[in-house]
Symmetry: C2
Subunit: 325 residues, 2 copies
């Protein structure tokens, strides 16, 4: 089975590649080749039981995509994206990568001899509703940011392309992924990971919202599980509707902090930030996600497990990166 | 007030232009210039109290659009589209005009000194649901055809562009418009107009569905009323959501036929067509349209009035066209 990860150099792309390398198979079938494609040449997993190609290129460049997606490709993970803060700051860049990039992926798929499975990362950012919302499976996407609009458009494109038989898409609307490694940044959602990551590194963190503020989250491990499931699931039960609200978890800041060791928890202070509050208060805090459960998508693990996995998977690398940075 | 109609040579574009020419004003402000733009040079209304430019060009051609939308343009009616049957038969053509055309309109609007009002014709074809459906105002668009997908994408693009202040859009999801002039064609919806138009011309017509089959319709006159209202309405109450389900009417074939003079009604015979039934049975037959009513969009007039208006506006021209065709 030939697999391509577009955005293979990103946070989730690297974790997905590492998982594939570790398992060597997907749903019982041997992985025979993996291509990692990103703007900068992705770093491949250290060891893998199959050949890995790493390619640098622009996702809107059809020649580069043709190389990244050879004719025998069966599964494409399309994770290449300009993230929400960047797409809001630079409209043209977001449109280029998030819209025209997806159009280029669609065009490339049409040249393959067999319609490939395409696993596309859409986002909870394509919904509004706010703290009080419980988004149903047929909830309408009225995006409040360009990233969310571009992701909702990507879903419509891949949905129609699936109906026409150009490809066979599953679009996963990812919750806010935590705990992210790296540093605090200017993204409004930065605090969701920072209030756990920074204290675990022994560093102080500030929380801009009240402790009863709730977020719809998933862990990096869970996101990868969903990607792998979406890559081989039977898509017939999806019908026309290729968008999935996966079973993440609605967690409050208080619940997040309770998952930290007590000494770490003391490093978090509450410093209200009305600018951040204004943005994040529009995000829906919960989804029913009944359809995804029926379709076989696995449940988000508890927060204590999320924290333990971060310590196991990412803490040392994050600490080392800070020391050299 | 400078106005541009993209798709100004089409059925609704011509009716809109004629109405503007007749009134000379929009919401109390004088129309000072009108540009009609279409693939073939549009035929302007016979008389108008303002200058009319007619331009031929491709809606994806940015240079042509720049000419069609001069800097002082205040209102753009974006009706240019490849219709549903054509967009289904030729995916690339539909994508070009319906998606890339709308992207080109967006880009052109960004070059104007003041964000123009853009009235965009989206479609009931962007919804599914079928005969039993009563689509609520927050109903989700899961299109079952490429035209509907492209229209839903256009809405998302114009919605985000409105939020960013590039333009100020109102997207009207038009019902099936009837009575259309012209001839019966291969569109699945052809019969909706044909069962009224053909008998009024003294010609036989066949109806491929049962007489209790219901359709969500509007008249050409009503569509033009909605366009004009959308062109000057206060968009603040719309918030992020620029999509409007206007107050059309859900009418059965039996109700349609009852609006015909008795001698005309006898010209309609029922000839079931399972292919057409399979397509049209997926169309939602009714919408709540509460939000549009609250926002001030006017009600669809009764069917007898629709028939009377067709006779007044279009019957002679249709008859003449048939005689020479």
């Amino acid at each position: 089975m030939h697999i391509t990860i577009l955005g293979g150099g990103g946070f989730l792309g690297r974790k997905l590649a590492a998982r594939l390398a570790r398992e060597g198979q997907l749903d019982g079938r041997r992985v025979t080749a993996l291509t990692l494609f990103d703007l900068n040449t992705p770093v491949p997993p250290a060891e893998a039981p199959f050949p890995i190609r790493t390619l640098a290129g622009d996702v809107t460049d059809r020649a580069a995509l043709a190389e990244a997606i050879p004719p025998q490709t069966e599964v494409i993970f399309h994770l290449a994206a300009v993230v929400s803060a960047a797409a809001e700051a630079d409209f043209d860049l977001g449109m280029k990568v998030n819209l025209h990039g997806t159009l280029a992926v669609l065009d490339t798929c049409r040249t393959l001899p067999k319609p490939p499975r395409v696993v596309f990362t859409s986002s909870v950012a394509s919904f509004g509703g706010g703290q009080g919302a419980m988004v149903p499976d047929d909830g309408r996407q009225v995006p409040a940011n360009s990233y969310g609009a571009q992701k909702a458009i990507g879903e419509l494109l891949l949905q129609d392309a699936s109906r026409r038989g150009f490809l066979d898409a599953v679009c996963i609307r990812l919750p806010t992924v935590m705990v992210r490694p790296g540093r605090p940044n200017k993204a409004a959602s930065s605090f969701v990971s920072a209030v756990l990551r920074e204290p675990l590194l022994g560093l102080p963190a500030t929380c801009p919202v009240e402790e009863d503020f709730a977020v719809w989250i998933c862990s990096p491990r869970r996101a990868v599980e969903w990607f792998l499931y979406a890559a081989t699931m039977d898509t017939a039960p999806l019908g026309l509707d290729r968008g999935i609200n996966p079973p993440g978890a609605s967690v409050s800041v208080a619940q997040m902090l309770a998952a930290l060791p007590q000494e770490a928890r003391r490093l978090v202070s509450f410093v209200p930030d009305t600018t951040i509050q204004a943005i994040v208060s529009g995000w829906p805090a919960a989804f029913t996600a009944e359809r995804a459960r029926r379709l076989g998508f696995s449940e988000q693990e508890p927060l204590t497990e999320v924290v333990r996995a971060f310590i196991e998977d990412d803490l040392e690398a994050t600490r080392a990166e800070r020391a050299t940075g």
